[in-house]
Amino acid sequence: MAVYHLKTPISEEEIRKLKVSDVVYITGTIVTARDQAHKRALEYFKEGKALPINLEGLAVFHCGPVVAKEGDKWIAVAAGPTTSTRMDIFEDEFIKNFKVRVVIGKGGMGKKTTDAMAKYGAIYGAFTGGAAILAAKAIKNVKGVEWLDLGTPEALWIFEVEDFGPLAVAIDSHGNNLFMDVQKKVEENKQRIYQKLGLPL
């Protein structure tokens, strides 16, 4: 378990060094996107429209933050990750089209995303679900917000972060997926549990 501190924009070379179970902290720019923002971003791409921010080398964060406005300035009050599996249907295209290097969320992602990460050079960093203040304290500045018409949880929030983490590398760019490994073990353990409970296998 190695610890890495990465600065955005992150290169493919830096990403390829990382292995599952490593711990990563990110400094630079991360952008939130949930279901609706993923959907709209891919629609924009299809229509040849540019996104409000170039995501190349950046991290996309599955997060709907609690935000407050102090004067003209937005503040991220609480900003933990949301469940990433909902974005599984979009993420391979998202990585391919927008060249993000890190996807941050909780709960892990599936085979399609794992394959895209191996192909294009990206990782999935699991941020502890619910650790919203830990995340908010690493957000030094809200640089901007786009697509607020989607509602504050679904908008694109552009955060300037310092040592944002710990992110557990749960999918690396070599086809390894920690969540899927755990699931395999859980399936094996299931038989032992049934036996212990005296249930038919």
């Binding site: 009050v77 619910g130 509602g151 949880p153 755990v182 409970l197």
Partner: protein
């Protein structure tokens, strides 16, 4: 009972719930951190404990998903102004959304429009119970979406009995995996009907972790299920480890001879709840967060 007092108390309960986790939950998480053997699992529990401390220090919501707001109201039959309680709870919710702040989490399922203030048709939801006396006891649960998405109801086969229930719970936990932000708390209920089982299961999430079922047979079942689900190896945040569930609470209702309804309600580690009693003279006792103002 002054509605202003009800509104103020509901606002305070929301604030207590979203910022300060109950002592029993914190204690269970600390114990889990001490006992977890998986390295990755331990980093997750460490982040959780650090986050709880930061939330208290900065008086900010412990999780950005400040949940769907559900009130449980135990109304004394002699309490006055009960017809105005609903509006007071709605007002408190609106104020809490703006002032704490809470994330606006109330969306019209047809237009997909977010009301922006955590209110909407049937939201905040209020469970009413009429009890003796003239006091009003209010409990708020702010229920996270990640753990809500894996709650399940099942109509099991009566012939399989409690064994069927055990299997149902184990399978639900395995299927949920990393999604409900483990370590979780489980509310399990059997009997009544599909809706009744889930209502009881969800309500069981309000029981403190250090409190066990007064029926020794059911307490044993809770312990057995807890041990079983922690053998899955799902671990904190689904990244592997031995802490998957912090506690299990089982409740039941009598069932129809042909039915065996069962429900499993999941709560995330950020198991937010707060209670208070408002007496008829307007005095207020905070029941879960005695040392927090």
């Amino acid at each position: 009972m002054e509605t202003k007092v009800v509104e103020e108390v509901a606002f305070n309960l929301l604030k207590q719930a979203v910022i300060y986790l109950p002592e029993d939950v914190k204690k269970a998480l600390k114990k889990a951190y001490a006992e977890e053997t998986s390295e990755t699992g331990k980093t997750q529990l460490k982040a959780i404990l650090d986050n709880i401390e930061l939330a208290e220090k900065y008086k900010a919501p412990v999780c950005q998903d400040t949940g769907t707001i559900i009130f449980y109201a135990k109304a004394g039959a002699q309490a006055k102004n009960l017809d105005k309680v609903e509006q007071a709870l709605i007002n408190a919710t609106r104020r809490a959304t703006k002032e704490i702040p809470l994330r606006p989490n109330s969306v019209d399922p047809f237009t997909q429009k977010n009301s922006g203030d955590n209110t909407g048709r049937y939201i905040p939801f209020i469970h009413w119970e009429i009890v003796q006396g003239d006091a009003l006891e209010l409990t708020v649960m702010t229920k996270g979406g990640g753990s809500e998405n894996v709650c399940v109801t099942g109509m099991l086969v009566p012939g399989e009995g409690i064994n069927g229930l055990k299997k149902f719970v184990v399978d639900a936990v395995i299927k949920a995996g990393a999604q409900p932000c483990p370590p979780n708390i489980l509310g399990v209920a059997v009997g009544g009907g599909a809706d009744i089982a889930m209502k009881l299961a969800k309500k069981a999430l309000l029981i403190p972790l250090d409190q066990h079922n007064p029926n020794p047979e059911i307490a044993k079942l809770e312990e057995e299920i807890l041990e079983a689900v922690n053998m899955t190896g799902i671990g904190p945040m689904g990244l592997g480890g031995k802490t998957t569930v912090l506690g299990v609470h089982v409740d039941y209702a009598f069932r129809h001879p042909a039915s065996f309804p069962a429900a499993v309600a999941f709560n995330c580690w950020a198991a937010r709840r707060a209670s208070a009693r408002i007496n008829s003279d307007g005095s207020v006792e905070y029941l879960t967060h005695k040392n927090v103002r």
